[in-house]
């Protein structure tokens, strides 16, 4: 694993891989959008409005995936003192937060025609909102601490505590919600998804995933370059400027 801890090696490898990932992302998006906007049939109940799920579901999935990536790379960074893993966790946070915001936004846009209101305290919406808060807290830790090594350690503890709690919070929010409103408005067991809709959804999830990886690589690269600039400036004795 420490083979990949070297930032220079990461830069070399990622420069080779990145064009392929970018190309794949564009291809998957093109295919996915074609399927989801044109090939997938109109829903007999919801009309064309339902097509927002092709953005909403992948975004919600990436939001959770992103927190998982942060937690795993934080654990690796904390246990093996792996600097690249710390940077990966740091680079993931804004991406995950953006996907969470996108999922909340598309969810509420979908909610208006479906439920007649932009926001209800549905269990899923609420847990998503709390996930967003956890992302904000994690990002704030990185911003609050000057010393990068210390910030990495503190942030990894925050993310691991958050991971344990996000599971408990999810459970308790479900519990709270089922007691408050027994008949939930959002029922997924109604129209089962199939055919071109399913293909479109899977393609979009794959596209979002590739996009996530591509942006993550860009962000790690730019973080590494930032550090290099910092240390070069220090070597020149010019201060941090």
């Amino acid at each position: 694993m420490h083979k990949f801890a070297n930032p220079a090696r990461f830069m070399r490898l990622s420069n080779i891989v990145l064009p392929w990932i970018t190309g794949l992302t564009i291809l998957l998006f093109a295919l996915g959008l074609y399927y989801s906007l044109i090939l997938a049939p109109e829903d007999y109940q919801m009309g064309n409005t339902y097509r927002i799920i092709f953005v909403h579901v992948p975004a919600a999935y990436m939001a959770q995936f992103g927190y998982g990536v942060i937690a795993v790379s934080s654990a690796i960074g904390f246990i093996w003192k792996h600097p690249l893993a710390d940077q990966a966790a740091r680079a993931t946070a804004p991406i995950g937060a953006a996907f969470t915001a996108l999922a909340l936004l598309t969810g509420s846009l979908w909610g208006k025609p479906m439920w007649g209101t932009y926001w209800i305290w549905d269990a899923r919406l609420t847990s998503m909102l709390i996930l967003f808060f956890l992302y904000l807290g994690y990002i704030a830790v990185w911003q609050a601490i000057e010393d990068q090594v210390k910030a990495a350690k503190i942030a990894s503890i925050v993310s691991l505590v958050g991971l344990v709690n996000v599971i408990i919070i999810k459970f308790s929010v479900d519990w709270w919600n089922t007691l408050h409103q027994p008949a939930t408005l959002m029922r997924m067991d109604g129209p089962t998804i199939g055919g071109n809709m399913l293909i479109a959804l899977l393609l979009m999830i794959a596209a979002f995933n590739m996009f996530f990886v591509a942006v993550l690589f860009w962000r790690i690269q730019s973080l590494i370059l930032q550090r290099r600039i910092r240390s070069l400036r220090l070597q020149l004795g010019g201060g941090l400027g």
């Binding site: 709390i130 808060f133 807290g137 704030a140 210390k150 408990i168 919070i169 308790s172 519990w175």
Partner: protein, 222 residues
Amino acid sequence: MIKLALSIIMRDVSLSLRHGSATTMVVGFFIIVVSMFPFAIGPEQNILQRISVGVIWVAALLSCLLSLDRMFQTDYEDGSLDQFVLSPVPLELVVVAKSIAHWLTTSLPLIVIAPILGIMMNLPNEGFLPLIYTMLIGTPALSFIGGIGASLTVTLRRGGVLLSLLILPLYIPVLIFGVLAVKASIGGYDATSHYLLLLGFTLFSAAIAPWAAAAAIRSGLE
């Protein structure tokens, strides 16, 4: 070792008692926050009755949060925190002792005051004992989880706001089960499962939080 932990608790409690002001301020804050709600929502008795449990619980969370940043701050400033890290007592045990001391000096006074606020908020009679029980069971979790936040932000200059941003989302389960248990008792339902879940969360946080907090203190002091 237990003796040392006990002496840390005694030290913190007597420090807080002789200092006096911190506990009084927290209790005062608790009362003021609760008494803001009738102004904001209106004095109708039935509305106050509906929101009473929730308001008291939220005010308790905020009051607890208010005193958290002092949990390790004074020890950090006068150097005792370094002594704790170096001492043969495991740092985890020190954190447990500090959390218990925080609970004794912050949450216990709140629990004593809570019934009076319950009267002011027109809490139904069946709600008083459950409110005290849930607060007794639930508030230790606030101190234990708060210990993580306090230790994460101890070396930061403007840690207070960050602390609330980090810790408040983690308090949600306590709030949910605390309020649900009281409401179930008022409504005449069986509240056992809520009590058990609340107790479980408290025990879980007591078991896990000190490790995270001790790790955070060690990283912060490096």
